[in-house]
């Protein structure tokens, strides 16, 4: 299965290039033209990524994160989310690299095939790094409804996390 998955990306490239060649596209010129946009794009989102990263580090180091985690883990227990994954549920919307680190920790500590670990894996897949999406996609865009969209995303994410843990129990 994993082997088949690893075929996906090379196949996409191969077929895209073959198709482009059949359409007589100058693939080298076209590809380099696209690459040209990478640095300006990253430069334009850097201020937002940097600020969110500083904030999430401060959030973690100050102990505010663990305070909130311990504060809400009883609520998590109430909704069927195992306490072991509370920190993952909190960090996932904030930081992509952070949540992968926390996920790996959970998998190692409780065993890859344990209930908590499986919940963690499924919960991880339910949403993207919501803060990052906000910072990167909407860098510099000021729209009132984006706050509402943010709240909706967080709520849908939490609902899906609860649902994930339920699914892991029955599947």
């Amino acid at each position: 299965m994993n082997y088949i998955l690893s075929l996906l990306i090379p196949m996409i490239f191969l077929f895209s290039f073959l198709f482009a060649l059949s359409r007589k596209v100058k693939v080298y010129d076209s590809f380099t033209e696209g690459v040209k946009g990478a640095i300006p794009l990253v430069l334009s989102i850097f201020p937002y990524i940097a600020t969110v990263a500083m904030l999430s580090k401060l959030f973690e180091v100050s102990g505010l994160e663990s305070k909130i985690t311990s504060f809400i883990s009883p609520f998590f227990r109430f909704t069927g989310i195992p306490e072991e994954i509370a920190s993952l549920v909190l960090i996932k919307p904030l930081s992509g690299s952070g949540s992968i680190a926390v996920l790996t920790q959970i998998l190692e500590r409780y065993g890859v095939d344990s209930y908590a670990a499986r919940c963690a894996c499924v919960a991880y897949g339910t949403a993207d790094t919501i803060f990052y999406i906000g910072a990167v996609y909407f860098a510099g865009i000021k729209r009132k409804k984006l706050t509402a969209a943010f709240v909706i995303s967080i709520l849908s994410y939490l609902a899906a996390v609860i649902f994930s843990c339920f699914l892991c129990r029955i599947m």
Partner: protein, 209 residues
């Protein structure tokens, strides 16, 4: 975002001030440093995918794919801007495949384009929610982590993940439709000379409380 930033920043700073003030600057520098290295790896990711994206563009794949997805995107986003719809269509299809590196450039393009259209509030919110609740067919990175940690059945989380991500997306879309109403556009036909001119009349405030 401004409010959230201000609250989290001040509360965290206050807590640090009470416990270990010497860690304040190093935490900020560490965060900034991480973002700098993240940006370097993003340059690499975007270089790869934006190269491919341009090849798609020039060979007509973008047009073909967006033709397929456009009708759905049009219904969902309530916008008629072609350029925005094309970027949205590609953003959604690439996201489905789980290639977030390629989805981001399209997403940014769509967000910037949508900001200039009539129905920007609703369409931007929809773009945010759809990307935040990321509908993904194959959780490739998670399966890879599970394989690396020698799981007995690395793929048994695929089905629950698909159900769960489906729930978050459907719920997000429904809530957006419910709470962030699109500006109603009505098409009125106005006769002028020999031509029928389609004019979009925007009625503000309809459907809002």
């Amino acid at each position: 975002m401004n409010l959230l930033f201000a609250i989290v920043f001040t509360v965290s700073t206050f807590l640090l001030l009470c416990t270990s003030p010497e860690q304040f600057l190093s935490a900020l520098l560490d965060g900034a440093g991480k973002s700098a290295s993240l940006c370097v790896s993003l340059v690499a990711t975007y270089a790869v995918w934006m190269g491919l994206i341009q090849v798609w563009q020039d060979s007509g794949i973008t047009k073909a794919v967006s033709k397929l997805v456009k009708p759905i995107a049009k219904k969902l986003f309530k916008t008629t801007d072609d350029e925005a719809l094309e970027a949205i269509s590609m953003n959604l299809s690439v996201n489905l495949l789980g290639i977030s590196g390629a989805a981001t450039p399209y997403g940014i393009k769509a967000a910037q384009r949508l900001d200039k259209t009539e129905n920007a509030e609703y369409a931007s919110a929809m773009l945010f929610v759809l990307n935040a609740t990321s509908l993904q067919l194959l959780p490739t990175s998670i399966v890879a982590v599970r394989v690396a940690l020698k799981s007995g059945s690395p793929t048994d989380i695929i089905l629950p993940t698909i159900f769960a991500t489906l729930l978050s997306t459907v719920l997000g879309v429904l809530l957006t439709k419910l709470f962030i109403k699109p500006a109603v556009t009505q098409k009125k036909t106005i006769k002028s000379g020999r031509d029928f001119i389609l004019k979009n009349v925007k009625i503000e405030g309809v459907g809002t409380r």
